[in-house]
């Protein structure tokens, strides 16, 4: 019997998606930053024009987690565009519950998705202190654009967006 399956997320997965988002945010010591709700996740991921896509990792009943979950990992992604390169895949979140790590196929699914969708590349963000993840991706040929090309990611929050849009 396989250890786990990978499948496209369905609306019923929304509570698990939010649970896993919060677990990952807790690992990054940013749990209080998660303000997204199940209602928003449902609307934004499963409407006519989804803002994101998700892949879920699920184990059989007999391998349930200590707190009763069979959905043990997820990857959230969406498509972006670089007018120089073309279509890209952006990996927003990628997480597997601690007791199920080491299975690795999760990664291949995402990267196969990028290739099958004819994406020219995949972008994602890694925190500087997360050395295991940086090393994992660099070994596989990823480039650190912040370090190599000097790119810095900027953000404008809603309060300033409102001010800017009124000008």
């Amino acid at each position: 019997m396989a250890n786990f399956i990978l499948r496209k997320a369905e609306p019923r997965d929304v509570p698990d998606i939010l649970r896993l988002i919060k677990e990952l945010a807790k690992f990054e010591e940013m749990e209080e930053q998660v303000v997204l709700t199940e209602t928003e996740l449902l609307q934004d991921g499963f409407g006519e024009q989804p803002f994101y896509h998700c892949i879920m990792a699920e184990v059989p009943e007999d391998r349930r987690s200590s707190d009763g979950h069979t959905v043990v990992g997820f990857a959230m992604y969406y498509f972006t565009y670089d007018p120089w390169i073309g279509k890209m895949l952006y990996l927003e979140d990628f997480y597997v519950m601690k007791e199920y790590r080491g299975m690795a196929v999760h990664t291949q699914y995402i990267h196969s998705t990028a290739v099958k969708s004819r994406c020219s590349g995949m972008h994602f963000i890694v925190a500087e202190w997360n050395k295991p993840s940086i090393d994992f991706y660099k070994r596989r040929g990823a480039s650190d654009l912040s370090h190599e090309e000097g790119w810095r990611l900027f953000e404008i929050d809603k309060e300033y967006l409102l001010k800017m849009s009124a000008k």
Partner: protein, 168 residues
């Protein structure tokens, strides 16, 4: 100077392509036809807006479309809907007149109308003038603030990753 900011149409694509060619350098893989298909078909991968001036203010080369911005909708697993500004460009002879700010303001309006909570974009660390402008508008530097690095995996590396080639 009078100018208008409006949503781009297929007819604008050749001017957007012209300005992309001028504003970037290095190897490119996207032809004008690709840009038309990717941005102006039924399920576009990006959206764009154009800054246009009246006939009497045409550039010395005869162009009235003098700036553009290219954006798409993204998603934050913490906060939900967001908009990403991929390109923002104004022809040099039209800078300093508020056109760049007006383009960005339009993206903010369109993003808020679509239910977005944040606008993200990337700036090169040597581009002090742009960084100072963005900081003055209330933006903050996520790379410095949260130690986040932008990573990219492409070409043969992406294909090898998809195959799950063993690594050292």
């Amino acid at each position: 100077m009078v100018y208008t900011i409006r949503v781009a149409t297929l007819e604008d694509c050749k001017d957007i392509y012209r300005m992309i060619m001028v504003s970037r350098c290095g190897d490119r893989r996207v032809a004008q036809g690709d840009l038309e298909q990717d941005g102006f078909s039924k399920n576009p991968f990006f959206q764009s807006i154009i800054a246009e001036v009246p006939e009497q203010h045409r550039s010395k080369d005869g162009h009235s479309k003098v700036g553009y911005a290219l954006y798409f909708f993204a998603y934050s697993s913490w906060k939900g809907r967001s908009v990403y500004m991929e390109d923002l460009y104004v022809m040099p002879e039209y800078r300093g007149k508020g056109i760049g700010k007006a383009l960005m303001s339009k993206i903010a309006q369109l993003g808020l109308a679509a239910g977005c909570n944040q606008l993200n974009f990337a700036v090169l660390n040597w581009n002090k003038e742009s960084m100072d402008f963005y900081l003055s508008q209330g933006c903050w530097d996520v790379t410095t603030g949260l130690d986040y690095h932008c990573m990219r995996c492409e070409g043969p590396a992406l294909e090898a990753l998809a195959r799950g080639d063993p690594k050292n």
